[in-house]
């Protein structure tokens, strides 16, 4: 088991270096100049010399190789530097938004698990009945509907319904307050994006649960359990569901990692000041240092979540542990 974990940990180093090289190169290939954007992007008058001063200040006039080594050296010291756009330390800009993104990801995951596991299981157990068809319809719709569109519909629905019922339109708050400061306000803001993203997330997980359950329910050991006269609910809960969870956990892990920094449009729809919104803004603003840091952060989150998933695999399936 320890050797297994150590192997997984060692794989992190080349993955991080590869990601760093890739993001650094790709960003330099994107056309545009942060200083031109900042000075000329508003269509107003600007001084040409100001652009050159800005380039010197940002360090974009330095050789690319030098910029790369400075980036890697910073990474090794966990120093991401300052945002080229705002001039603020990246770590503080990210920390501010990480809390919100993490809360939305956790809430969406809870919504997804609460919906997906029971629905997927029922759908598999009641295969080809109206219940199965209904669940499949709901889950296919969840995959087909983009979360941001659902978000827009939720806001419009809330505005119209509240105006119809109470005479004044209501929409979720557009500024954030932490859950420990004002739980009601916090939840009234974040429950809606959690539902919008959780629906798509649960649809993916429901389909995965259903197909994994169908496969497991046809296994010999399930037939043996039934032949021994075990109670059906016990067979499903203890023997079938546990084994069917392996691919479901993978899906949940990948989706969770995606939610940290991946909600680029949904966060804008609900005006959530999260990592996804920061990501879009940093790319649009040609803020190299911020984009690099965010990509590395997302890579780290993915690696960490995959690592946890691997450990869960080993815990759930002894064959992996002992191989």
């Amino acid at each position: 088991m320890y050797r297994y974990i150590l192997k997984r940990l060692l794989l992190v180093i080349p993955t991080l270096f590869g990601a760093a090289l890739l993001v650094f190169t790709l960003l330099r290939l994107i056309p545009g100049d942060i200083c031109v954007l900042r000075m000329a992007g508003t269509g107003g008058y600007f001084d040409e010399a100001a652009i050159q001063t800005c380039r010197v200040e940002m360090g974009t006039d330095l050789p690319v190789v030098g910029q790369f080594f400075s980036f890697i050296w910073g990474l090794l010291r966990f120093d991401f530097g300052v945002s080229m756009w705002t001039g603020q330390p990246i770590i503080s800009e990210v920390a501010l938004r990480f809390e919100l993104s993490l809360q939305v990801a956790i809430m969406a995951t809870i919504v997804a698990i609460l919906v997906a596991v029971p629905l997927g299981t029922i759908s598999a157990v009641k295969q080809n009945t109206w219940i199965d068809y209904l669940v499949r319809c709901i889950s296919i719709a969840g995959i087909a509907i983009p979360s941001f569109w659902l978000g827009i519909m939720i806001i419009l629905g809330l505005l119209l319904t509240s105006q119809h019922l109470f005479g004044t339109p209501w929409m979720p708050p557009i500024t954030y307050r932490p859950i420990w400061e004002d739980p009601l306000y916090n939840l009234s803001m974040l429950i809606w994006p959690a539902v919008a993203t959780g629906y798509r997330y649960s649809a993916v997980a429901t389909r995965m649960t259903r197909s994994a359950m169908l496969e497991v329910l046809r296994e010999d050991y399930v037939r043996t359990a039934r032949a021994k006269g075990l109670w059906e609910k016990l067979i499903i809960r203890r023997h079938a569901l546990k084994n069917a969870m392996l691919p479901v956990i993978t899906v949940i892990g990948i989706e969770f990692a995606f939610l940290i920094g991946g909600l680029v449009v949904t966060e804008q729809v609900f005006n959530l000041n999260g990592l996804g919104k920061l990501f879009v803004e940093s790319v649009v603003n040609n803020d190299y240092t911020m984009t690099q840091a965010l990509v590395m952060l997302v890579v780290m989150v993915f690696i960490f979540v995959n690592f946890l998933v691997d450990i869960c695999y080993a815990w759930l399936d002894p064959r992996i542990r002992y191989s």
């Binding site: 056309p31 100049d33 001063t53 800009e93 339109p169 729809v269 005006n271 000041n273």
Partner: protein
């Protein structure tokens, strides 16, 4: 005796009351104190230093913290020439010394938020940073002040600007809303201090900031205009998506957005909220231009460039585009509301503005034929990936050119790559471009039409010394009549005779806001009249 005195006193009081009510404009109501104004801002300022930035995203949340030397009259912001003192005393001074010296008297009751008094030396240090920044300090608009010879403070409450030559562009340039007054002692310690910190003398004090989310301000009890501001504070909420900003006003999460909405959003809000929404509109000191690449064939030929502008139906476009986009007014190179702008008759003498569209397009076809333009070829139109108004007007332009047989393909890019094509690579035949200024100052604003070695924002790669000479002459003339005459000549050369580039339509600013927001008046620019000291909430 006592009763006579009482009656006299009552009569005097009643007289005063009647006199005061007569002095107030009809329908005027007494402003109420209190409340927090919540408004949405489409973007976040990169830094807090207004001298280095060019975006309205800085003005909206930060202007209320600062004072200016002079400003646009907040009671009459739609005027392009009505300037009033902010920290100076009395009316805006008239020049002496043949138009070359301006002497400002500074108020004695102005305090920075840290408690220190504002002196003339602070004003001088501010303008020295703007006009002649030290090495390594960015000043975006220092070229506005090429006419300034020196700025000095003979005493604590007097500032003297000496000019190299009389210039009509000077006073408007002083009123630029980015000229926040900074404290000399802070600048002496660190010229970059104001990039990350705030210490102004404006109506509001900085409360806090959540990066990417909100900037909050609270009432400044020491503000030098007694009884102001009316508000207890404000929340400037950053919201990038337009649909969200519209819904925020609808759901009363915000009361106003100061940049402007397209007509559809205005109509949606009015339909949903009725009398709870008030709509203000104004011509906007932003114009969508078309930059022609003079180094690419066949656009190096003046006949082809004239054909491009002759093909466009500006008068018709103004009517139907204004229903779906934030463009409306037909104009030349000067903001349509200004005294230096061309009137309709003058405009109709310029190619592309003729009243007879058929004649105009026939002339365009003739010119294209004469120039031997290959009409089977598809040309490259560079545009910005922003709906309002770029993509809408871009699509319209392509249709207009199609009417005379010219085919263009529209290439749409986000702002960074768009500028890369326009400024660096120059791989376009024709490009959308824009000129968006804060203060209406035509003598400076038209510098975009100068030769590319004179203007950093002219991307068409042309040199036109005739236009340059007219511009210089106009800027050194103190006579408005002569300025106007020279401006007409410059306009005719730029848009018609040499057809260096051309104007499509001027923007139209539409601000639908909650009706309880009072005191704020629309101006011709989303940069102006944002001090919020006269805004109050009728709740």
């Amino acid at each position: 005796m006592k009763s006579i005195r009482l009656k006299t006193a009552c009569a005097v009081l009643a007289g005063i009351a009647i006199g005061m009510s007569a002095a107030l404009p009809a329908g005027a109501v007494t402003p109420k104190h209190g409340g927090i104004l919540k408004f949405v801002v489409p973007a976040e300022p990169p830094s807090f230093d207004a001298h280095r930035e060019t975006t309205f995203a800085l003005i909206h949340p930060l202007r209320p913290f600062y004072s200016l030397l002079i400003r646009v009259n907040p009671d009459n912001p739609s005027s392009t020439t009505d300037f009033v003192c902010d920290v100076c005393e009395g009316p805006v001074p008239k020049p002496t010394d043949g138009g070359k010296t301006y002497t400002f008297k500074i108020r004695k009751d102005v305090k920075f938020h840290n408690g220190d008094h504002l002196f003339a030396q602070d004003v001088v240090a501010t303008y020295q940073k703007i006009i002649s920044p030290p090495a390594g300090v960015v000043s975006a608009r220092k070229a506005y002040y090429v006419m300034v010879d020196s700025v000095t403070a003979p005493d604590h409450f007097t500032v003297v600007f000496k000019l190299k030559y009389p210039s009509g562009a000077f006073i408007p340039a002083l009123a630029v809303p980015f000229n926040f007054l900074y404290q000399k002692s802070q600048l002496d310690q660190d010229m970059h201090w104001y990039e990350k910190n705030i210490n102004g003398s404006g109506a509001f004090r900085f409360k806090d900031r959540e990066a990417g989310a909100v900037i909050r301000g609270v009432r400044n009890p020491d503000y030098f205009v007694k009884g102001r501001p009316y508000l207890d504070g404000f929340d400037a909420i950053f919201a990038k998506k337009e649909s969200l900003r519209v819904q925020a006003i609808r759901g009363d999460r915000a009361a106003i957005e100061f940049r402007g909405f397209p007509p559809k959003s205005r109509d949606d809000l009015v339909k949903a909220l009725g009398k709870d929404i008030t709509v203000e509109t104004s011509d906007w000191n932003c114009v969508l231009l078309t930059t022609i690449n003079h180094k690419r064939k066949p656009f190096d030929d003046v006949r082809v460039r004239r054909a491009l502008t002759l093909a466009i139906d500006r008068w018709g476009g103004s009517q139907y585009l204004s229903k779906i986009a934030i463009v409306k007014t037909v104009g030349g190179i000067v903001f349509p509301g200004h005294a230096l702008a061309a009137n309709k008759k003058e405009l109709q003498e310029i190619a592309g503005y003729w009243p007879d569209l058929k004649k105009s397009r026939a002339e365009a076809r003739k010119l294209l034929k004469e120039a031997g333009v290959d009409l089977s070829k598809t040309y490259y139109f560079n545009n910005r990936a922003v709906d309002q108004p770029y993509k809408i007007v871009g699509t319209w332009l392509i249709d207009q050119w199609k009417q005379v047989g010219l085919k263009f393909e529209q290439h749409v890019f986000p702002t960074g790559p768009f500028y890369d094509v326009l400024r660096q690579k120059k791989e376009y035949d024709v490009s959308a471009d824009f000129n968006c200024q804060s203060i209406v100052n035509p003598l400076v604003d038209v510098s975009k039409f100068l030769s590319d070695d004179r203007s950093g924002s002219q991307y068409g790669q042309w040199q036109d010394r005739e236009v340059d000479a007219l511009f210089d002459k106009m800027n050194q003339s103190a006579d408005p009549k002569e300025q106007r005459k020279l401006m007409r000549e410059m306009e005719k050369l730029t848009l018609d005779t040499h057809a260096n580039g051309f104007i499509t339509l001027w923007w139209n600013r539409i601000i639908p806001h909650r009706s309880y927001v009072k005191g704020w008046k629309i101006s011709p620019s989303h940069y102006l009249n944002q001090s919020l000291d006269n805004v109050w909430l009728d709740k």
